[in-house]
Symmetry: C2
Subunit: 514 residues, 2 copies
């Protein structure tokens, strides 16, 4: 394999962080905007986000949740009324203080001192409180429940250190907010949303995750329960890929979301919220990228098959183009994984070889090249991006396939690629979860001695609270470790707590994280 | 007809502005948010916007334009470099000056004086300049052209007087931005976008429009040409429903968007931009609303057919529900106007009659009621929202139709409603354009004496410029009139200018406008 010349300059094993930045640039996903902490999401990157949006939105709507839109700006008072909320994360925020610019007389512009807002407005870091206000208006009686709302929006959290997709000052997300009559119904919704996330991220993004409950100290401020899905990146770190919160009645109390029950008594609603963001694109990159660029799972690929005509500025070019157009048309009539196949016939100027490598770096699942000889033989040259190399000879693996056979097999081919990307990531994840460590010293030593990519460990603990928990968090922090979650589907505890030696009550995943 | 008891309290003819507000509230489209100038778009209103987005986005993508996403915040410097731009509209804007809140010691929060931004950031009023910056980075050679980008985003313009959907401080829109090698190609794109808007607004929103060029004084600041589509509301006022600008090379010059042509020479790009916004929802309301609420054209209706089971808390309820579910399922297997029919079986609590009027006010195109007797006869009771009343007896017009006949005819029924809403609006528009006035005094008198809803007049002018144009604009302004556009498809001028008596060069539409 050493004779393979990969498309990127940096390999994952050499410098994962630098490799990540190179993929983003080489796959044309995003770039710095010149505005601090904000990125430009370029068409290929945005196309992947749009695919995610469509697939997730279908799931959201299928669950009977309605989309709506709430203001970008939130009055200060909304943050002031919830002490927990403010202390938790609502500090680093973009604050609008003026509503007009005027010329400064030196060719520049400045905020107009006469246009200072009486009360500053905050650019939403989340819409929890403003949607809470609306729910308080909309819910009167038990007949109005459950009230289930979702919003797709941009939000802003002023971040000091940013990394594209993973942590940017502005990012795109969806936030679900629901109100219910009872604790049971709200908990059911919390779990439904979590399961929806697990299914979409695993099935559509081909990113295996572990769903579980966050420990107390990692809860969303003010939440009674926080659940997450956690994915393992190729450097062994964890990425929190989605969260679902049961908020009890505390947010309902702060916002006044109450209903009259069937006996005429006023009751507080039980609320939930759940969200996923453009951070998922960072997860896709770090799950499926390789040393040649990105590999986009077919379900979220804007183009699933890219056809490259090999043109030579000769008369037969027209025939090659016509042949490619026939293949394109035949493919678009085929369906794969419940949708028509998305095909691009790339007629842009440039040599086919250069264009091939562009699409390799971008990670189109299937790349098809067609030259005069292929045409005369009624064939196409097919490359699977997930299995790019012929490991025996170090060349790109290309299968010369009769056109009709390719077209009729395309649906299955895309499905195979989707499955194989998932299986590869799942197997890697499973191979990198270490179990059986029973002492904290062993865990610390494990992460210290297992090089750059130690993966995760699953251990048992006594679920400490209060001061005991604080001590544990300090211990973990010293090793740059965090508790990811208590896996929903893990076996019952049967050992002792790695921190205290007491009888363990549950299993936890410990890892370094983004 | 006087015995009809309409669902709204205010009639269009009595107080159009008040009627507009009542429709928004009665149809559950939007509400005040408590944040100055910002509205909450409620699920039914947002669902209509989502339908528009989907249909317009399909058209945008079909034209080979790619979606991308650019930062919410724009540095001051971007506004400073374009004097025209700044003078034109870039004054009333939300300005972010701080990136942190701190406790004020009195239980409140204030912007942290230590977290003042070195350079304030403006919340985008449009992304013209920031997309221009990106284009300057992305375009190097003629091979990179045309570069065609679209963004769906929220934008903010601080408005002093706001009206829901029509003029809000924050609104949602799409903005297309394209760069081309030549003037001809850029003009072609300007017209392609205009025609795309005309087609989508007429075919999908059933809103007839007149496409034409804006006169010089109504151009987008800095544009060489501005084209618009103009729709007539039921009060006879004009609503600018979309604009498409040919920007020449001036924006390219300001942002440095240039390319090397095939001979190696650096050239400035010719750019265009075009946009439509949530204002269109205001247009849908004022085009299709009636004294019973909204009437949503089927193509943009989130639910095209709403089935209401008439339940009586009796054992046969289950049978009625099962029968309704059969009808629902059969309908979802049918397609209309290129898409599967969207059906809601509304099982929410409440009496069928109350729910019927809720859906009448919301404007679901078809409302179907099913009671035990309908079921036993194998029928359904069908109401067309666009023809709600039996004018002979003043009751709601209900057609008792055999179930299978209704299901198999549903596709055609929805098409008929779509066509009929369009025809009704077009006929009203055409009947309210007055032609043949040849003197300014006649025009002024026409608007003064034709009551509340005078409609538009089409007149001829000599296309004045400079001081002559300014005088004309003053004359118009005194009568609260504006020139809407020079209709693209109008006949050549054959008379004299109403303002100067000179030989006319073109026809213009004059109207009051939103």
């Amino acid at each position: 394999m050493s004779n393979i010349r990969h498309a990127l300059n940096v390999k994952r094993e050499d410098d994962f962080a630098k490799w990540y930045q190179e993929v983003i640039s080489a796959a044309d996903l995003a770039e710095e905007s010149g505005v601090r902490g904000c990125m430009v999401i370029k068409p290929w990157g945005y196309g992947i986000w749009e695919r995610y949006q469509r697939l997730m939105d279908d799931r959201i709507k299928a669950a009977g949740i309605q989309n709506a839109y709430f203001p970008l700006f939130i009055p200060l008072a909304n943050f002031e009324r919830e002490a927990d909320h403010v202390d938790g994360f609502a500090k680093e925020m973009a604050v609008v203080t003026h509503h007009r610019l005027i010329a400064d007389g030196k060719g520049g512009l400045v905020p107009d001192p006469d246009a200072k807002l009486e009360e500053p407005l905050v650019v939403r870091p989340t819409s929890e409180t403003i949607i809470g206000d609306a729910m308080a208006r909309w819910v009167q009686s038990w007949r109005d429940l459950p009230l289930m709302i979702n919003q797709w929006a941009n939000v802003v959290r002023w971040e000091m250190r940013t990394r594209m997709f993973l942590r940017t000052s502005e990012f795109l997300w969806q936030e679900g907010h629901t109100a219910h009559a009872t604790r049971e119904e709200a908990l059911e919704e919390t779990h439904r949303a979590l399961e929806m996330y697990r299914a979409c991220v695993e099935d559509d993004l081909a990113m295996p995750v572990i769903a579980g409950e966050k420990p107390e100290h990692e809860r969303f401020p003010g939440a009674d329960e926080t659940w997450s899905i956690e994915a393992m990146m190729q450097d062994g770190k964890a990425l929190q890929a989605g969260t679902s919160h049961y908020l009890g009645t505390s947010f309902a109390k702060a916002a006044g979301i109450q209903y009259q029950d069937s006996e005429g008594t006023q009751q507080l609603c039980h609320t939930t919220s759940w969200g996923t963001s453009t951070r998922l694109i960072g997860g896709v990159i770090m799950t499926h990228g390789d040393d040649d660029g990105l590999r986009v799972p077919p379900r979220i690929a804007p183009h699933q098959i890219v056809i490259l005509p090999m043109l030579r500025d000769k008369p037969e070019d027209a025939d090659v183009l016509a042949y490619c157009e026939q293949v394109r048309k035949a493919l678009t009539a085929e369906w794969s994984m419940g949708e028509p196949i998305r095909v691009l016939l790339d007629k842009s100027p440039g040599k086919a070889a250069a264009k091939r490598w562009e699409w390799v770096r971008k990670g189109a699942p299937v790349i098809v090249e067609v030259g005069p000889r292929d045409m005369s033989e009624g064939k196409v040259a097919v490359m699977r991006r997930d299995a790019l190399w012929n490991l025996e000879n170090g060349k790109t693996a290309m299968s010369f396939t009769p056109r009709d056979e390719f077209v009729s097999g395309a649906s299955k081919l895309l499905e195979d690629i989707q499955d194989s990307l998932y299986a590869e990531a799942r197997d890697r994840r499973d191979a990198n979860i270490t179990r059986g460590l029973t002492e904290w010293s062993e865990v610390a030593e494990f992460f210290r001695s297992n090089g750059k990519y130690p993966g995760w460990v699953e251990v048992q603990w006594a679920k400490p609270t209060g001061a005991a928990l604080e001590k544990v968090v300090e211990q973990l922090k010293a090793e740059k470790l965090t508790v990811r979650n208590v896996p929903r589907d893990s076996e019952a505890a049967d050992g002792t707590c790695i921190f205290t030696g007491e009888k363990a009550v549950e299993r936890i995943l410990v890892a370094r994280a983004y």
